[in-house]
Symmetry: D2
């Protein structure tokens, strides 16, 4: 049985060229991108003659120790953090992937999801390629090696031209760093500058941590080559309408980052303001509170929009380690209590608006609302800063199957009853677009440039469903991808 | 040269009697108290016949693994977390301290600071006692062993009667759990109930995590004995005016706890409201922001009191591990950047009020204000939710020497210039007392029940200064304690 | 229930005074003594002003890392290795024990077994002493602290004068190293010299590893004080007939050591020669083989004495780690196979003499003989280089209870049948004494100077049996000690 | 710069098919082969549907923990241990290599050295293959994947037919285990049987540990396929004269193994007997001693041949851990003392014959002889149980460059003077052949079937020297390989 291909979804990438402490700055960069992936971390550095790397399972601060940097010499480096998919504890899928091929050594860091990974892999295997991981990113390297093209600057667009789906990707060879973003531009990728060195990163927060200046976003469909000769930009692919991920604003990116030309904090706050504006229920609430920390900004926006006071009805603990002793069954809502504790005196006998950024399976929401109710809240009104999440993402956000998405199987009222709130409301897609657009774009323009397939099911690419159906019947992979 | 005695300051204690999973619940309890001490953690459990313990350096989740609990059987247990004093990596000061003596086995967990530790230790050593740690808590055990009293219920008040200073303390023997709080009651200690079991903890957040009900505070000067016969309370010490630590409200306790009869969240928010009420400067600010997370509530209060919007101008990272690779000198304000990142788009060209809970040495404040300025803030107004910290605490809060306290060596204007803010203001002591008192106590009543020696220098006990001076001249210990 | 007191049996001690790298040389010294104890290791060093220590569970090379030695500065140090008693994984019994008391700091390293530990501990507890370990060595420190004597040189003989049983012991204070051996002299202790520094160690192999010269043995009943003033010897105790442990020659010491005035290798080989001389059976064997490595020398001696060729019929693996995966029940004699593998081609159809140094419970012998038989040996003749071990040792060799000693419950023929050999023979006590005496002492002289209580049951001290019986009836400790 | 290709030299392989505890038995098998490689260890198991693996750096007992075997389910498994090449701490070269390719999943374990690795890799890279390791074993997998052949049973001979050099190799796919030995048969590989399961291993000691019966050697040039249909043997390659490695008898294999049809213990002892027979010097020695443990058997043989007594003049410590604290410069021959200690009383004023199995660089020999001299030996006569090692091995034994081999740069007398012995003698090649042949083969037959290129320089394959020279000039790899 063939293993299921795993997309390089929910990752962060960072690269730097032209700095004497390239590897250490990369370490800081991927540390700042840790929220994009906590499963594994890795760095490959080039001293101009050869590439050396170090990868490991776990958080950036756990994977690297001082002596590792003795090996990671040189003025160029790339780094990667990857999301924790439950149960996959294998180092083989950690990135950067580093290989030797006809034209030298090559390291690759990928954030995205190649939707035609299976047919490409079949084609490559038929030509004799062997695969050592289940990551779809390995395909990219094979395409480059099989292209027969000597110059990586030419091989990269040729290889990427074969891919469908999302790819914000960095390539490092001995003397060159190449960054590329697919023509739809699902995943963010920005360029910065630090004392003459060129920096590339998933989000601007990784520029900030090293004190680099933000230069501009890498554009959808753009390829950037960085070498001692300087920076060279090209757009070799047929142009397509961009389909930037609207969910990066709702949940995934850090609030202190600027992505897709707009700062996340402001967008997230605007989502809360729109929520308040759309408020359909006639509720008398005492205050509005976030599910900390990811919905802090949206809750602030709701407070601003509604005039309701903002307060911290729940305290979040940050000491949670990787292994936690399994305690007894004596404790209700146990797992949730490790992370959240309600402020009883504040909640007692109050009517509260709780703002959250999304509901996936609903299990966590049930427990949080239960905590709030048990702390004495009289009324709980749940507000979600985006529409119901009904469709899996195939472009780089980790999602359960459609059956597991509560937004797909229950209607909104049912969800509210399931979770146990007095009222529930999801922000409309129109509202999301208005918030994300701000003063810069109309909602129509946002609709034209952003992907909202997770809410609408309108996937901007074919999903190889017939192919998938065929494969599924043969038992070759699980339903999760399609 | 004798080593300096180390007080059991900045600790958290937890005990439970009468539950089949006593040790695992203790694990959760001290996990909830982790903010009170991150250096070491330990648990001792009793199965009614003997005591068994496990201690280690580091966070609760790192010190304990599942198999440790196979040994920690029984229906009673005590646990402890201890603050990280730089450089002291030795397990010998970790608690609970477990010993055998004439009348059996005994474990002790202590939060506090015994100000007459040195004369007591001298006296005990003269009588032939040996000490295996530099913790002042070891003195308590010797006093019990030397008392010659068979019944621990009698030996405890006799031993504690010799101590001056702060002690919230738990004793576990084979069949009894005893809790005591010194007559001044500097440190909090509360009692809860879980399915018939009695729970004792530094803060109520440790009751919440296991689903225990809050019963009441252990009162200053009270001793609680818990055994199969039930709970017995006594007040064996001559009564004194309580001197509860006002700084627990300002900074140390968790906001979701209730201590000293009042919930911390509300008190902390009231500090911000008072700050706004006292606002002496005519400033035109765009918004108010906390230094997250400890001053979130005070900043919210300032927002409420002043009418200024509240926003998150700084994002705090929670991925910081224990070892961090030392990077380059290329990066300004480096250490601070690992923890905090400013939201540039929000701060650019703005005038902001920054609320913080205290300034110790001033070094961190300098860096944070620098980050905010560099992010483009036009004006920065710093507001501190308590008076300048001028005097070391000798009752259980870790403090540098008086010389290192910036509040002791500079006046307020000088501090403001040193830190680089446009204006600075510290809440008055009157304001702190008003906030802490709320509707329950007048400021005068608060003054009569709370210790504010760190602001005023009016220590409620002798500090053994002459004795200390004498010892210092002999080179027997450092100036830190006195 | 009081814990059972654990003797500091099967330990190695090392001390050095007057060398700039005292701690590192101590590390090497206890590494060379590792065979005397694998449970825990520790070092305390003095820089002339204070003592600093590091201890841990496990082998010397696992307990210490380079940075530990940054703390262990100074020109004097003591170190200790301790035997692994199954299940006792607690650091509290590791040595050196380091304490503070009236007259300063003190570290103690003890090899031996105090037979009157229980009455002494009772007496000390009655006087108010507390105990943090279950090691009998802690008693010594209390006796010193309680003596009230200022000078350690006077306090040590006063304290040791209270002890009965075996004690080779080192004391380190800020500016002095004191070594003592009890008047019976059960355990070895020697003195060496390295570039002006004085070295003290359980065996000479620890002098060899650091290139120190052997000076002489510390004599039974002798106390050696080492300070900047030089070396001072005294014999403060009433003289007694020495009772040096004959089993150190049979099994415990390293063959390249010289102890009790005689080199172990030669003594061990002489045991084999005596075995051959006493050979009572008319056997026709092809060759003689050891159970490697501990009986290599005795087997060589048997070969020399009998004229039979020597060969390695069993190969021993040295890769055995601490945790080994439990495999299946498919494999006979599994645990033994991890350590030993027979050389089939050599054993096939042969008659072999197998020499071993002792049989404790007999379980390992059963498995080894089974391996040899399965490899095709036609006849197996087992020869043991000492008499049957019938009585527990109370003077520093770890032993099971009398019931568990196969030599105590079965006669020699029964043992042979149980183990499955064709013939079995144990060396006579006379033969052991002849081997140990060599040309230097007659067997009678050896009988007068060495303890052979494990073979004869003639214990040279009272064993506090009535006291013990009384305690046992009260359930206060296990039968193991008496 | 391309990395140097690293041969899979000095490895051990183990495979089993048809046993419910395949992975655990493989664990034991590679544990028994640990002497063949201590750098890394790995196991891949098949449950009939998919392959799962676990690899790590270090000893077998350190790499695997009980939970790893939860994943390694199934009735077939292969395992590998690999030699520690200094400085290569990367997991990427650890085996088994596990990949997915057109026809499923495949794991490979290789012991040997492919001499035409570079031209094959160039050819494969030119065809678009990418390489993730620097191991030459990866080439084999590419050859299989590129063969386009569906059936592994057909693909393996096709791929192996392209290789020149040494290969004892195991392949595991979902339902089949394939073993192959190259036509020259440099490295050993044997077949065993355990309760119906088929076992394949580098040496018979790996059969013994699991209680498997030895069936026969896999023959040079033979391929064995094991599946539920049974065992199928074929010899698809053009026959060549075998060139089995004579050095496996001299040093590399375990003495309790049987390889190449002869037991190692007997061969090694015969080497010592031949040494005594050839003894050219008129020496009067007191005894003969080995450098333990590897030359124990040869020294025994010398004793038997010469009539000199055998004794252990040096004791070897087995506690050496992986990290050892670097001590002072005060200690002469320090590193050697950690491992070896002379028995002074035995050596003092004696004339000794020291038998060793080989001299590589000579540095260790210098130190050992120095230890012996310092222990007082009057005369030291060094005897080596094979001819001088003059030429690097390219067929699976790790060797330094020719310049580093002392046998290549100095003549025998010079070596003796360099090492500091009174006399030195190396066994003749004729003597080695006589010892290895025993009664089964004449020396001429041995010469015709065994490789002794390390002594003679007569390499049985081309070494691609011209190719290498060309590459060296281009700086593409180091001189080490050629």
């Amino acid at each position: 049985m063939k293993p299921l291909l795993k997309p390089a979804e929910e990752c962060g990438v960072f690269g730097i060229f032209g700095h004497p402490e390239a590897a250490k700055l990369t370490y800081l960069g991927i540390y700042a991108l840790q929220h994009r992936g906590q499963e594994s971390a890795g760095i490959v550095a080039s001293d101009g003659k050869s590439l050396r790397g170090h990868r490991g399972m776990g958080l950036v601060t756990d994977v690297f120790a001082e002596p590792d940097f003795d090996r990671l010499q040189g003025r160029a480096a790339v780094g990667h953090v990857r999301y924790s998919t439950m149960g996959d504890t294998s180092l083989t899928n950690a990135q950067p992937i580093k290989v030797d091929y006809l034209h030298g050594s090559l390291a690759v860091c990928h954030n995205g999801n190649i939707v035609n990974a299976l047919p490409l892999r079949e084609e490559l295997e038929a030509a004799g390629s062997i695969f050592t991981s289940t990551s779809d990113s390995e395909i990219v390297i094979h395409l480059i090696a099989q292209s027969g093209v000597r110059d990586l600057g030419e091989a990269v667009p040729k290889a990427l031209g074969r891919l469908e789906g999302a790819s914000s990707i960095l390539f490092l060879e001995e003397n060159r760093l190449i960054a590329a973003r697919d023509p739809r531009g699902w995943r963010p990728l920005c360029m910065g500058e630090l004392g003459g060195a060129v920096v590339l990163a998933s989000e601007t927060c990784a520029l900030d941590i090293i004190g680099a200046k933000f230069v501009r976003d890498v554009e959808p469909g753009e390829i950037i080559e960085v070498s001692v000769k300087g920076v060279k930009s090209s757009k070799p692919f047929p142009p397509e309408d961009p389909r930037m991920c609207i969910f990066e604003f709702v949940y995934f990116s850090r609030p202190d980052s600027r992505i897709f030309g707009r700062d996340v904090h402001r967008a997230r706050k605007a989502l809360g303001i729109e929520l308040a504006r759309e408020e359909p229920h006639d509720i008398e609430a005492d205050f509005v509170m976030p599910v900390p920390d990811s919905s802090n900004n949206a809750a602030l926006g709701y407070s601003e929009g509604s005039g309701l006071p903002f307060d911290f009805g729940i305290i979040r603990s940050h000491y949670i380690g990787r292994t936690f002793i399994e305690p007894t069954q004596h404790i209700r809502t146990f797992g949730t209590r490790l992370k959240y504790n309600p402020v009883k005196e504040l909640l007692a006998d109050k009517s509260v608006v709780v703002v959250d950024d999304s509901i996936v399976r609903g299990t966590t929401s049930v427990k949080i609302i239960d905590l709030i109710r048990n702390a004495g809240a009289r009324e709980v009104h749940l507000r979600i800063s985006c529409p119901p999440w009904k469709y899996p993402c195939y472009y780089g956000i980790d999602t359960p199957t459609r059956e597991e998405l509560i937004g797909s199987s229950l209607d909104i009222d049912e969800i509210g009853r399931h979770i146990g709130v007095d009222t529930i409301y999801y922000l409309s897609l129109e509202g999301v677009r208005r918030a994300v657009g701000g003063r810069q774009m109309t909602p129509e323009e946002v609709a034209g440039r952003f992907c909202s397939a997770c809410f609408t099911g309108e996937y901007p690419t074919p999903l190889y469903k017939e192919y998938a159906k065929d494969m599924l019947e043969k038992g070759l992979f699980s339903s999760k991808m399609f």
